[in-house]
């Protein structure tokens, strides 16, 4: 039996470097690809910060050379700009709080790249995400602190069949030790935490440069004006700092109303919600979500709560409304076209949780198994 032909996404970081190394050790026929996601000229790049710098491409190329595997760089800057960066800005402008990493995985790094790998005849795509794929189902990573299953919830059965996640059973120290053992030059590279296209971490400043000032009012729940702000896009639900108002007790952002330019603030107790609605839901087994118990995570590193899942409408098979603008395959079909998405579900939480922002991903688990998820559309106390 011939070795499976596997495309490995190599960002130039330690995780994807070790992924490639483990793929080679597994005996797979490995090809490395680095995605150029930004057009930032070299001399303007912040070295060591963000991702997709020239230095990262060089690191990935060097690791591929060390491993003796073919290596290519693909320019996906246009796709990234359109599907991730522009979407990120538009979501904030609409008063929501997007998760650009989930969006990137959905549109570019995983689903988009997997479709392209398949079109080129590869059997599978391997990435350095910390999560496990077993028998075509998606599970949490063994290293709970590094678990990234949250940003992969949108994968369906067809994609999971062709996705390899060699790091899912390892801890981060084990990954670094593997890199050191193999002499990979990325072994000691620092972690990247920030949104990669906002390398200084100043999202509000980034948005302000993009949109310019859009002044408006900070109001309380009764509509009384407490202060003024430079742009509603600077605020996210649950935010406490930077409100520019004086109050005897801390105030938190409860809602962002960009059309009115209004930011509604209140007491911490006002943040608690017990009901969440998800839109554009997808499931990892491709079957419609029925009424059931599950646990839900509403932020990448947030707490999880038990919930009751209540479908709000009949799923429409093939109604690909869920994945807006999903990567189109070269043959014109859209990935996972038969997946029942576009449906909405209501989550009745077993205990209230604070500060859930529309736009964030809500991901449903059954133990370690990822059931699927969707995008938070509305919340209620």
């Amino acid at each position: 039996m011939t070795a499976p032909q596997v495309l490995v996404a190599m960002s130039g970081g330690v995780d994807s470097s070790v992924t490639a190394a483990l793929a080679v050790e597994a005996g797979w026929d490995v090809t490395g690809v680095h995605l150029k996601l930004a057009d930032t000229p070299g001399h303007l790049q912040v070295q060591g910060k963000g991702c997709c710098t020239l230095a990262d491409a060089d690191d990935a190329r060097r690791v591929a050379g060390t491993l003796g595997v073919p290596f290519y760089v693909w320019d996906m800057a246009e796709e990234f700009q359109r599907a991730v960066v522009d979407d990120f800005a538009a979501e904030y402008a609409g008063g929501r709080t997007p998760n650009p990493c989930a969006r990137c995985n959905e549109q570019v790094k995983v689903v988009g790249l997997l479709a392209r790998a398949r079109a080129l005849g590869f059997d599978a795509l391997a990435t350095g995400h910390y999560a496990r794929v077993e028998d075509g189902r998606l599970f949490r990573a063994a290293d709970a602190a590094k678990d990234q299953s949250y940003v992969l919830y949108m994968l369906g059965p067809d994609e999971l069949r062709h996705l390899r996640l060699p790091l899912g059973g390892l801890t981060k120290p084990e990954v670094r030790a593997t890199a050191a053992r193999l002499g990979l030059r990325t072994a000691a590279k620092p972690e990247s935490y920030d949104v990669c296209f906002v390398p200084d971490g100043d999202t509000a400043g980034w948005l302000e440069r993009r949109f310019g000032p859009r002044p408006g009012q900070v109001v309380n729940t009764a509509g009384r004006v407490l202060g003024h702000h430079r742009g509603a896009y600077r605020f996210t639900v649950g935010q406490r700092r930077g409100l520019g108002i004086a109050a005897p007790t801390p105030r938190y952002v409860l809602r962002v109303e960009p059309a009115a330019g209004r930011v509604v603030v209140g007491e911490r107790a006002d943040l608690a919600i017990t009901t969440v609605e998800l839109e554009r839901t997808t499931t990892t087994d491709g079957r419609p979500l029925g009424p059931r118990q599950a646990r839900v995570r509403l932020r990448a590193h947030g707490t999880e709560v038990g919930c009751r899942v209540v479908p709000l409408e009949d799923p429409i098979p093939g109604a690909a409304a869920g994945r807006q603008g999903a990567a189109t395959r070269p043959n014109g079909t859209r990935p996972n076209e038969t997946r029942p998405n576009g449906t909405r579900v209501r989550l009745e939480l077993e205990e209230p949780i604070d500060a859930v922002a529309p736009g964030q991903a809500g991901v449903l688990y059954d133990g370690d198994l990822v059931l699927g998820g969707g995008t938070v559309s509305t919340t209620r106390a």
């Binding site: 032909q5 680095h34 020239l54 491409a57 760089v73 693909w74 005849g121 059997d123 070269p330």
Partner: protein
């Protein structure tokens, strides 16, 4: 393994390797040293200087060795502008020049008070002389840069016409002949070139050496200071072995030119184009790299968006300035020296082979496969052992939309679908046939196939 990427770098010629080996094995010597070993190294360098001069119809004393074509272009652009008073630092270059020229010009504009204008090209990538003329500022324009033939699409440029215009305005002409030095060649005297850039590795010499040929009387400021080598224009110990390889490659290229290599390459390229067209009838050719195809009297290349006929000699594209009417003869005409060239050949002992300005690169074929990303095609072709290039690549190695194709009116998406095949001194029919077979395989993988089985898909990347 079929290698069809000569425009990126040509394989080392056996003659070049043979010339280099003795110098690499011999005890190290500096060509500037006065002892026996030093004199031997110097002799090798001077032989190379004569060989390089003969290739381009120059006097050996006009050859300034550099680290390659990029340094030669930089020396020409910056050295010329820095020799001017700030108020006469005006430069006109064609929009399709190599980045070694364009970026050097951009530097001069940003950091040396220069003013740069780009001369537009037609949809075949050819400089329009009347529009270039309109950009000249007599008495103020110091330099005009028009390459001999474009490295991405192969279109030959009206160098002699540009030189006349430049001289009339009191400017000097830089001709980047990095791609064209072998075939079809350029002649310093016949074409009126003042500065001519060359790179050894495009001719089948080693990487790391090149030359700027500086016509006598041209004023330049050096950029690299030190020991005063190369008449003070380019300091640094001369790499004798590499230069010997450069010289031997230049001599071999000249012999090739005189023995009909243009015809051979044109025929190979026609074979390639015919094969590719059979596979992809919607394929589009970019530029006008010269005569191509079996039917030399067929319809002319129109520069239209549609497929371009497998032809080209015939009447030229519309909008062609009269000055370059002498270009695009059949391949058989290229070996015919003009009077000025004969002079140069007689003077410098080589049979320099002047040819009418405007000839394209006979081994180059730039084609667009509509609907197929060049990145995907190149990955598959590499897996199948065939080397070729996309339009152009950025520092990270990604395929970026080429400024040349964009200047020719292609949109960036179309530019991303462009693949460049380039043939050269060791190319064979077997290489061409293997490349066509590999493209057939790649196109089959990339073809939209409804309900294609996984097992079929799996054949895609198999080696």
């Amino acid at each position: 393994m079929p290698y069809l990427d000569y425009a990126a770098s040509a394989p080392l010629r056996p003659e070049a390797l043979a010339a280099m080996l003795p110098l690499l094995e011999r005890p190290a010597a500096n060509p500037s040293s006065q002892h026996t070993q030093g004199r031997a190294a110097r002799a090798a360098v001077e032989t190379a200087r004569e060989q390089v001069a003969a290739l381009v119809g120059a006097d050996p004393s006009e050859v300034v060795f550099t680290s390659g074509g990029t340094e030669a272009d930089n020396l020409a652009v910056k050295g010329t502008l820095l020799a001017q008073a700030p108020e006469t630092r005006h430069l006109v270059c064609s929009a399709v020049e190599h980045h070694a020229v364009l970026d050097a010009a951009a530097w001069a504009e940003a950091d040396a008070g220069a003013q740069v204008d780009l001369a537009p090209v037609d949809n075949l990538g050819r400089v329009e002389l009347d529009r270039l003329a309109a950009l000249l500022q007599p008495g103020r324009t110091a330099l005009v840069a028009v390459m001999a033939a474009n490295n991405e699409v192969g279109t030959g440029q009206p160098v002699a016409g540009a030189a006349e215009l430049a001289h009339a305005a009191g400017a000097v002409l830089l001709c980047d002949a990095v791609q064209a030095a072998g075939l079809p060649g350029i002649d310093l005297a016949a074409d009126g070139v003042d500065l001519l850039a060359l790179a050894a590795h495009k001719l089948g010499g080693p990487t790391g050496v090149g030359a700027l040929v500086v016509r006598r009387g041209t004023t330049l400021r050096p950029l690299v200071h030190g020991g005063g080598q190369e008449r003070g224009l380019r300091s640094g110990t001369l790499p004798a072995a590499a230069l010997a390889g450069f010289g031997a490659a230049a001599a071999a290229a000249l012999t090739d030119r005189q023995t009909g290599a243009t015809t051979t390459l044109t025929a190979l390229r026609s074979r390639l184009l015919t094969g590719l067209r059979t596979l992809a009838p919607d394929l589009e050719r970019n530029g006008d790299p010269g005569p191509i195809g079996e039917d030399a009297t067929g319809p002319k290349a129109t520069g239209e968006r549609g497929p371009i006929g497998e032809d080209a000699p015939g009447p030229k594209a519309t909008g062609e300035p009269g000055q370059i009417g002498q270009d695009a003869p059949g391949p058989e005409a290229t070996g015919e020296p003009g009077p000025a060239g004969r002079d140069a050949a007689a003077r410098f002992g080589g049979a320099a082979t002047p040819r009418p300005s405007g000839l394209g690169l006979p081994g180059l074929l730039s084609v667009r496969f509509p609907g197929r990303r060049a990145e995907d095609l190149l990955l598959l072709l590499d897996r199948y052992g065939v080397a070729c290039s996309a339009g152009s690549a950025c520092a990270s190695g990604a395929v970026t939309p080429s400024h040349v194709l964009v200047a020719m009116g292609r949109d960036p998406a179309e530019a991303r679908e462009t693949v460049r095949f380039s043939l050269g001194h060791a190319s064979t029919e077997a290489d061409v046939d293997a490349a066509v077979a590999a493209v057939a395989r790649a196109l089959a993988v990339l073809a939209p196939a409804e309900g294609r089985a996984g097992s079929t898909a799996r054949q895609g990347v198999g080696r």
